[in-house]
């Protein structure tokens, strides 16, 4: 038996409206009792996350909803992914590749994690390389991952110099022209952008998404 359209709509609704218990229960029922196609269930999750992302952009949802949505997605993913029997075929084409990390000396990651989540649900491939990332690691990751955009995150004022040093290292490695660089974090503004040599800055995750969409030629 496969999931009905009504049931599918219900799952999207539960997840998008933060009805966690109902959403997880229905997803489990579909996957474990009714034999629903796990790829289809994950696609429904993606649809729900699109709605979550829109509500965040519209100022209806904030961090509590983004974090909860992420946890619901993780829970369902953990059940669905082992059930995928056949090769999923060609992955849907992503909008672009983003490499993101918190710069050297800074251990903060709340903002970076939110940006990573929002980029992911907006259709980007995102590689998050963590916190306190040395400039040399950014350079080697750019060489191997070949991102379109590099996101440098930092909360402390020490991040200003770390970002500047990281961008200088990327430049020295001959990679500066190959990537767009955006910076973000609690103290970041135009003055810091100019100081570091980044292409742009954002004050929240929505701005990060729209910067990346703009660079990839996608309508925001």
């Amino acid at each position: 038996m496969t999931a009905t359209n009504e049931q599918e709509a219900q799952l999207v609704h539960h997840l998008a409206e933060m009805e966690e218990d109902e959403g997880l229960e229905l997803a489990k029922k579909m996957l474990l009792e009714e034999g629903a196609d796990p790829l289809r269930v994950l696609e429904l999750c993606r649809k729900a996350m699109d709605i979550v992302g829109k509500k965040f952009e519209d100022g209806e949802y904030f961090l509590p909803e983004l974090v909860l949505a992420g946890e619901m997605l993780d829970t369902i993913g953990a059940i669905a992914k082992p059930l995928i029997k056949s090769s999923p075929g060609e992955e849907p084409r992503k909008l672009g590749r983003i490499l993101i990390g918190t710069v050297h000396g800074d251990l903060h990651d709340i903002g970076k994690n939110i940006v990573t989540f929002m980029l992911d649900i907006n259709g980007f491939d995102v590689k998050d390389i963590g916190i306190d990332v040395p400039a040399t690691t950014f350079v080697s990751e750019i060489e191997s991952y070949k991102p379109d955009v590099v996101g440098l995150s930092g909360f402390l004022t020490l991040a200003f110099d770390s970002m500047k040093d990281t961008i200088a290292s990327i430049d020295q490695a001959g990679l500066r022209e190959k990537v767009k660089i955006m910076i973000g974090g609690g103290q970041i503004d135009e003055t810091v952008r100019a100081y570091t040599g980044a292409d742009a800055f954002g004050v929240n995750a929505v701005e990060a998404v729209s910067l990346c969409k703009g660079w990839m030629g996608v309508n925001a």
Binding site: L107, H108, T157, L158, D189, V192
Partner: protein, 421 residues
Amino acid sequence: MSAPAISVVNAKAAYDARWKRIMDCVALRQPDRMPVTLFGTFWLAKYAGISHRRLMYDLDGAAAVAERAVLDLDPDTVSPLVLQTAMGPTLEALDYKQVQWPGHGVGDNQPYQYLDREYMPPEEYDDFLFDPTGYYLRVYLPRIMGAFEGFSEFPSIAGGFYFRLFGNVRGFASPALQDAWARVQQAAKVSQQLADANTRFIARMADLGYPMGNIATTGAPFDVLGDYFRGARGILTDMRRRGDKLLEACDKMRVLLVRQVVPAARASGNPIVFIPLHWAPDAFMSEQQFRTFWWPSFRQLMLDLIAEDLIPMPMWESDCTKRLEIIKDIPAGKAIYWFERADIVKAREVLGDVVALRGNVSPSILTTGAPEDVDAAVKFIVDNVHDKGGRIILDAAFGLPDETPVENVRAMFRAARKYSG
């Protein structure tokens, strides 16, 4: 720079004039000029050309550097500069796990940084609510400080009675607990040395004519639970998953925080209570969530402090411009609102007849700009806040950024006097 000769009489007069400037602002009276304050942590390392690590471990050295900076800049108030930096030996003696500091997880020239973790899983809310002291002793302290590890065997006392209490007493013979007692006693001595250094610094500042901008500190109930118990992910999802429990815990935490800080502030002799805030910003939660989860317990905490003749000084981290109309709801002339990134001009418009303001010279201008840029930033605040009737205490957005060039700091203090005097 050697200390100038300051007579006791002149120092007392200077102290009184500086303190009056601050109290005039709090009472929403016109001060003789805009006060400017020195609040810093590792900027002192930059100032003295020493490592962050040394500033954290050398109590007398930190005090000497702080005194030099105060005499150089001549602020109206000073923050507890020694207490805010020289905590390395105490953190080490306690094996404290909620921050990393130079030599313990971060480099010698990096500031200490708090680690966002889940220190209290959700299933422990009820234990905390039922018996917070027991929870602290047996669960929380052993989790966040290695010195307290043996306290997990602290015997259960409550519910014991008459001869049955004898049996409970045996628990104190636990080797792990006895080992912990020894470690905690040693840490207490080290902590007392820090407290003594702080007391000496405050007394020295008073002798030189400089009052403290605050001594006692506390937190907002939601923030304390979020940052030091549940962690970011935990507190954010609690708002959706267990809102009632979270509100109950905020209320309980408020009472505990007030019971801690009122005697501390009274003993310090300084009525201003510094309250750095974390989870209030516009971008973190909706207005409805702010009104439901964050604001009520914090507002009540401020009212509790005001009822004790204390002066709450919350520092509203990040941008809280959209919260201004909500946080206006406290008695007039009783508090200082320090804004980091909120629009200070708008803050004057909305809050000018309710609270004194503090802040908020941009960290990016201070760290990357030239002295003339800093001068212009201060002039903007004088023109648009002080000269328009706002009672503002000039400071950087969250105290001096660690990396600020000394010339820029001097420019900030110079401009404060030049434009508002």
